[in-house]
Symmetry: C2
Subunit: 284 residues, 2 copies
């Protein structure tokens, strides 16, 4: 199911700058019982991205209405699915310079909820370090833009179902995030997550975990220059994204981790937060 | 004028990974009297890019035939135009992992030759340094991939017609290239161009200028760690790409340059090389 600028349509013009230059942004949301989870947070990151990329004239009202309309389409036939929302700078001539008049393109697509074993939540996953590095760029760091070749290349490094996620280092060799997730680690009761001011995506669940920890008085530090060794020496490691929630890491390369109490506590808090958000969202 | 996989068509599926992730490559060629200039060099870089990105099953024969067919369309109505060729990893599901079966998408578009004042070739251009940096990534450096947000953002930094090109630094502050061109500088009779093994595009004209200089015994050095100061202290500076050829830089920030003898010599050599290539290409 696909909509382009509100019209049911499965194609875009070749001239769209999303194709020509990756000139745009996207959001991936979980739709739960017809409700777009954490929509305000996703919308807020998307608008921050538009502001950073100087993409103007994106209407909050139209976006919200279209996402809700898309959700209404799934409420009855599936309890959970995935909504992907893309905003591009629209069509423009050849050349990097943006056209004088920009008409952004909105694309909404619905996808089945991906099959992941329930064990990943309860028993944890196996992760690896990727060879493909993340370039440092403060102009693009944090936002969820369409230039995702680094992630695509990192994801080509392994195949099969033995490994569930790859962790990526920046060009200086510091851990930033997973190919499709953010990463956290716990050392002596303190929760850490890598700084993403130079590379990486400010994940919505990452933001929620940080806020939940702070609200509960769990010490949490945004850490610069996280080495592989720090991660391998941690007590607990987990990864997060909007679709998987929190996946504990039970193995990273040759290191085996127990699934510790703080990871379990944060999983519980996140699940409760989702329930509350769902109840709130369903209120008129 | 547009072809998608050989069919006259101006749209692509929303599911194309070129749109979803910038998962692809492109080439921009000058078409001169119906002949795609330096096609072998463009094709070679494109195939190198496909190899680096693990995009398989791109047929040289089909690409060459389609480009020639496109050129046949313009021979009679314009002496010069621009051909843009895009290859993407084709359509695939949600997620960075490439699908098990990849069917690359080929897109060919024809564009009018852009209007540039003839003075840019003869009198030189005015350039500036951009604030937007290039991230370092050896996996993606050199190839002409579709992740071009850094160039798009750099190009938003100025407007109007006073400045013709912006030079970009990498995340460590070293000069790499222009937003749409490669850069060369000359100091005491030696030609230098920045190393592009960590960031930047291996421009076709860059490669030709290097080869021409070497063939003529003009000393040329691929230089790492080029600072702004080195460029500002150079005797001559010029930028290159497939559409502009060689543009001397007559002003960079507040520094004024004369258009020196080596720049003029290389311009002459490039023009002669184009003529020879045109004659050769028209032979049966």
């Amino acid at each position: 199911v696909l909509w382009v600028n509100g019209i049911c349509q499965d194609y875009i013009p070749v001239t769209d700058r999303g194709l020509q230059y990756g000139d745009g942004l996207f959001e991936t949301l979980e739709i739960w019982q017809g409700h777009p989870l954490f929509w305000q947070a996703h919308l807020s990151r998307l608008l921050e991205g538009c502001s950073r990329l100087h993409i103007q004239d994106v209407s909050i009202d139209i976006l919200t209405a279209e996402v809700k309309l898309a959700c209404a389409n799934v409420e009855n036939f599936d309890s959970r699915c995935v909504l992907k929302l893309i905003i591009t700078r629209g069509s423009g001539g050849r050349g990097y310079r943006q056209p004088d008049t920009v008409q952004p393109t909105r694309i909404i697509s619905l996808h089945p909820y991906p099959y992941y074993s329930a064990d990943y939540q309860t028993e944890g996953i196996i992760a690896r370090f990727c060879q493909t590095r993340l370039g440092l760029n403060s102009t693009l760091a944090g936002i969820k833009h369409l230039n995702r070749l680094e992630q695509v290349m990192a994801r080509t490094e392994w195949d099969g179902t033995n490994i569930q996620e790859g962790l990526m280092l920046d060009s200086n060799g510091h851990v930033v995030e997973g190919t499709m997730s953010n990463v956290f680690y716990i050392q002596q009761g303190v929760v850490y997550t890598p700084d993403i001011s130079q590379a990486g995506v400010a994940g919505i669940i990452r933001g929620i975990v940080i806020a939940l920890a702070q609200a509960q008085g769990i010490p949490l530090i945004i850490k610069q220059l996280v080495s592989k060794e720090i991660l391998l020496a941690a007590d607990e490691v987990f990864v997060t994204n909007s679709i998987i929630g929190i996946w504990p890491v039970r193995q990273l390369e040759h290191r085996i981790y127990g699934i510790g109490p703080l990871t379990r506590q944060l999983q519980g808090m996140l699940n409760q937060h989702k329930q509350e958000e769902l109840l709130q969202g369903r209120q008129p």
